[in-house]
Symmetry: C2
């Protein structure tokens, strides 16, 4: 979807012209009331569910969650996945030409925030004729978007599903993000963000950035269980190649990531994470920040998530309770750390399924009331 | 101290010729029974205590712990600090010339292990005429050396003080070390370890390595307390300079470290950490590994240390208890994460002081018994 109305950004800059790439699943009902927006995290995209024809390995990143008969059931709901601005999977971002210069934006692409993304998503909803979402849902950075929706467009969202998220990053979270950024920014192939013109990619930096990130997505226990101190060979190698399987795994993840992800996008998105802090405009009072919300909430956290630990979700829950909002909270005892929000876990999936049953029943009741009023 | 007898290493390589730099504090008594060896961790040296003349800022890294009247009281004990092989603070390491080639070892310096260091330290003790240490003490990687001493030279150590340490690194510990190594190894200025010949230093890699390490030395809570989300300027900068104080702090730490630390040493020492696993030769049975120890032990951990958490110290304690060894264990409720072992904490310091009182009383009793036997 192309937009030619300028989008003012939180930084003071604005995007004159931009495109949002999106995918939809299921059908919008006649009342236009069954739309659910799914927001992506750092390295995902609009491709939430299903596979592309002839590409069985192209499964969407939340394919276990979204689809016919799945917890977010596309037989009931019209689901929209949208790629955010600044990303490298189709929507306008640093790899695209800046119409003002005719050259790729590179590092001059404006730093965008969670709130900027939400405003852009709201314009997409306008175009699609969706006045109010049955739900906005996301995990991690996606959960921040779901939370921001409830504050920025309180009348346009019935339910907010905030999974494995946080009301703001901690100093440690920011520290990890900044080390990752420094690895990219100091890679000689970064060329101040204009590496496209040099025909290179700052792969070394991206690779290290991803390795750091990946450690924070997994739990210590999960790593211990999956890899432990397993050796690639029978004996220590006494060199700097691969000794331990965990080294091999992380290097592979880093290599793979550096092949497809844009370095400027990595920088942008980690800044969006760092900047998210809705309580900031309210002297740090999250309850005040959430005072104007009207949605109902599902908040989910995972016990072994040390990136965004359960305590962070409980802050959100407490602030909502302080405002007497409807909030359901599930703390799932899952071993997989932050990544748990993407993985199958029977209890997690059943909590989300049950919540969407409630969302669905409310739509039915609303429809019946509307019919009754019409009659 | 120069050694011309070859030192066989665990890797199968050997060092033909090497020098160990050491410092001593206090006086060796007539019985040669009051010597305490203090072992250093990743980026420290033989300079444990005191300051050099005219350099008031040159305080030793454990100056709060070691000195006249301090918990390890140099009025009572003869304390030795030794710089380990492979380090960059004086003892033979990658920066030194390989006598076989006349050029710096660089990456060809053999990968050394905790056990190799202990054997080298034992030779130094031989030269100094110390048959048995009253105690061997260290924190973190230094604690591994204190533990290894109790296994490799059970009759030459009366007490082992193992602080903020672990019987082996976890997959997550290894992962952080490997990302740090990858940052160095992939820095174009690393030149396969021969950067000395190129007149450069892989500062970018060292800087990122140190930033990663530093995050793991501090606790989440401590970072939150010290830095939180404090901004350098009043508002977000919407760029990749410094926004948050934690970024400024970590970049400064990384810059400083990259000015003085040798990249090959960093690689070597992190491998020594990764490889330490005394239970490995006993099918993972730490109790079996510790079965031949004769020392008494003080084990100390810190509640907020997530690098080597209290659970890891408790494994050591349990294995010692299984062997019916004398072991004192203190779990200090300190906020400073792994770094706590270097910092002042009244409870921590008083535990160590009380333990050395016991060591001292035992020396007295032994001396009296010896006198009695002589009479």
């Amino acid at each position: 979807m192309h937009f030619s109305e300028p989008l003012p950004l939180q930084s003071g800059a604005s995007l004159a012209d931009y495109t949002l790439v999106y995918e939809t699943y299921g059908s919008l009902n006649a009342e236009r009331s069954n739309a659910v927006l799914v927001c992506h995290a750092l390295n995902a995209s609009h491709h939430v569910a299903g596979s592309y024809e002839g590409k069985p390995k192209s499964e969407g990143w939340w394919n276990n969650m979204v689809g016919p008969g799945k917890p977010l059931d596309t037989d009931r709901f019209f689901v929209i996945g949208v790629n955010n601005l600044g990303s490298c999977f189709g929507s306008t971002g640093p790899m695209h030409n800046n119409p003002a210069t005719g050259k790729p934006y590179g590092a001059s692409f404006p730093v965008v925030t969670v709130e900027d993304w939400v405003h852009a998503q709201a314009r997409l909803a306008d175009r699609l004729g969706i006045q109010k979402f049955a739900a906005v849902m996301g995990g991690s950075l996606g959960g921040m978007q779901a939370l921001a929706w409830s504050m920025l467009y309180p009348t346009r969202i019935a339910h907010s599903l905030v999974i494995a998220s946080t009301p703001k990053l901690s100093a440690q979270n920011i520290a990890f993000n900044d080390v990752a950024r420094q690895a990219i920014l100091t890679d000689p192939d970064y060329h101040d963000g204009d590496f496209y013109a040099h025909g290179v990619v700052p792969k070394r930096g991206l690779r290290v950035a991803r390795m750091i990130g990946h450690i924070t997505y997994l739990s210590d226990d999960d790593m211990a269980e999956k890899f432990g101190r397993d050796l690639r060979n029978a004996e220590y190698q006494f060199g700097y190649g691969v000794d331990f399987e965990i080294e091999s795994y992380l290097r592979y993840q880093g290599d793979k990531f550096s092949e497809y992800f844009d370095a400027n996008t990595y920088l942008l998105i980690t800044k969006a994470l760092d900047y998210f802090d809705p309580a900031r405009a309210h002297q740090g009072d999250l309850s005040a920040a959430l005072a104007n919300t009207q949605a109902e909430f599902l908040v989910v956290s995972f016990t072994t998530d040390w990136r965004f630990a359960p305590e962070r979700s409980r802050e959100i829950v407490q602030a909502l309770v302080n405002n007497q909002r409807h909030v359901t909270y599930a703390e799932i005892d899952a071993p997989h750390g932050h990544d748990a929000f993407l993985l199958d876990d029977a209890r997690y999936m059943s909590v989300v399924r049950a919540y969407y049953d409630k969302v669905w029943r409310q739509l039915d009741v609303n429809a019946a009331v509307a019919l009754g009023e019409a009659a």
